[in-house]
């Protein structure tokens, strides 16, 4: 499923039928094979993982001529592993697997909660966390979760591995720091402290719809981390809001939040309404983090 809120203005190819028109397809056997395929695609390479956004975009002819490099069968890029202070999440781990993972539920419950908001069961059965992050839809839950958790993204390229902090990964609307020929292979997230709280609040008109606005709250010994989805062209880390919350000033935090986001107006909600509900979501999340009834 793709985000009609962001795509609708470009969904106007004169009534073309809903059929994908890629330039070709190749199934990668392993990571080095995938790298070779991407390198041989002459700039038209496109990584296909779960395909839940890419195939929709191809069906709508928002993307044509792609040389598809199907990485979905590569062994070793899937699953969650415990690495003492962090969790390692393979890029091909499916949303449904993340929602069901005992390691995630215990050490990164924000991600398990996020899964309940992502689209619908059939999409969660195919969609992958790496795909969601590389796609970088500002209305998606996982990118905002990465910011709130302070995750590190691991990227494989022709020069080997590099790691990027989530805060440096998301750069624009559907735009990341992934370079041509690179593949996102894994994510590491810090394991939650004993008293850490991780909360996701969002408002959508129907279950599984893209949120009008959403907010992640992480409270750990070093302070609060607040991120938002659906309030701009990228997921947003609300730094001023975090400072106010660390001071214990909730009203100040709500004011700071409404000040530091610049949400769009569209057919789903006006900018003012999004700014308003962002503050409401913050109050709810704080109340929930304190164990109050929201």
């Amino acid at each position: 499923m793709i985000n009609n809120q962001c795509w609708e203005s470009v969904d106007a190819e004169g009534g073309q039928q809903m059929k994908a028109s890629p330039g070709g397809y190749a199934r990668a056997n392993d990571l080095s094979h995938a790298m070779l395929l991407l390198a041989s695609a002459e700039g038209m390479g496109r990584v296909l993982a779960g395909g839940q956004s890419l195939i929709a975009a191809m069906n709508m002819r928002l993307s044509t001529g792609d040389m598809l490099v199907d990485i979905s069968r590569i062994a070793g890029l899937s699953g969650v592993t415990d690495q003492e202070t962090t969790l390692h999440i393979g890029a091909l781990t499916k949303h449904a697997e993340i929602g069901a993972s005992p390691l995630i539920r215990k050490h990164a419950p924000l991600l398990a909660e996020a899964v309940t908001y992502i689209a619908h069961a059939a999409i969660r059965n195919r969609g992958t966390i790496g795909g969601a992050l590389a796609h970088a839809d500002p209305a998606a839950e996982f990118p905002a979760c990465m910011l709130a958790l302070g995750a590190v993204l691991h990227i494989h390229g022709s020069d080997g591995e590099r790691s990027v902090a989530a805060e440096d990964f998301f750069q624009g609307l559907f735009e990341t720091s992934l370079e041509e020929g690179e593949i996102l292979t894994a994510i590491t997230v810090p394991k939650a402290e004993v008293n850490e709280r991780q909360i996701l609040q969002e408002i959508a008109r129907r279950s599984g719809d893209y949120a009008l606005a959403g907010l992640c709250l992480v409270r750990r010994s070093t302070g609060h981390r607040i991120s938002l989805l659906s309030v701009g062209s990228t997921p947003v880390l609300a730094r001023n809001t975090m400072v106010q919350l660390d001071r214990g000033d909730i009203d100040g935090a709500v004011a700071a939040l409404r000040e530091e986001i610049d949400p769009p107006s569209d057919t789903q909600a006006s900018a003012d309404y999004r700014r308003h509900i962002a503050g409401v979501l913050l109050r709810r999340a704080v109340a929930q983090s304190r164990g109050d009834a929201a």
Partner: protein, 166 residues
């Protein structure tokens, strides 16, 4: 362009318990393959961007959007459509409950709805009505208003749990 990328891809899979070999176009999605190449017209192609759920089929044990998976990705897969699930009588109780409760009118959404509902029922137990609605939230029905569908799914969950007579 480069030869490593194919316009047509050979796939070898199981569909409704029968082996299938085919050569498919790179851009063909699962639903067009099932409907146009294999004549399995039960699951429908409707919105074709993952919103409506009428294309829901079972691939390797899980419900998937047939419009959001390429036929080329089916190599080695085990696919079940409403035709196979009907012939094998695997969901006969669910189909009978849909009929008994008038949980369909035009029937366009029903094949996808049944695959989605069966995935929930296969988890066992008797889900709350809210959980049934949530699990079916990706399958649109424009006729029934959903109440009868939820009734039918709930009835079958109770029957399978031995709480009421079939």
């Amino acid at each position: 362009m480069t030869k490593v990328f194919a316009d047509r891809i050979d796939i070898d899979l199981m569909v409704n318990g029968e082996p299938v070999e085919a050569r498919v176009p790179a851009g063909q999605h699962v639903i067009d393959f099932l409907r146009q190449e294999l004549g399995l017209t039960g699951a429908h192609a409707s919105c074709e961007h993952g919103v409506c759920g009428t294309c829901t089929v079972r691939v390797d044990g899980a419900s998937v959007r047939g419009c959001l998976m390429l036929a080329a990705q089916l190599d080695g897969a085990d696919v079940w459509t409403i035709e196979g699930l009907s012939d094998s009588e695997a969901i006969r109780d669910l189909q009978e409950a849909f009929i008994a409760r008038n949980a369909l009118q035009c029937g366009f959404c029903t094949p996808g709805m049944l695959v989605a509902a069966e995935e929930l029922l296969a988890q066992g137990g008797v889900p709350e009505r809210a959980a049934i609605r949530e699990h079916l939230s990706g399958n649109y029905c424009r006729c029934t208003g959903y109440e009868a569908i939820v009734d039918a799914v709930e009835t079958v969950a109770r029957q399978r749990a031995g709480q009421v007579q079939a």
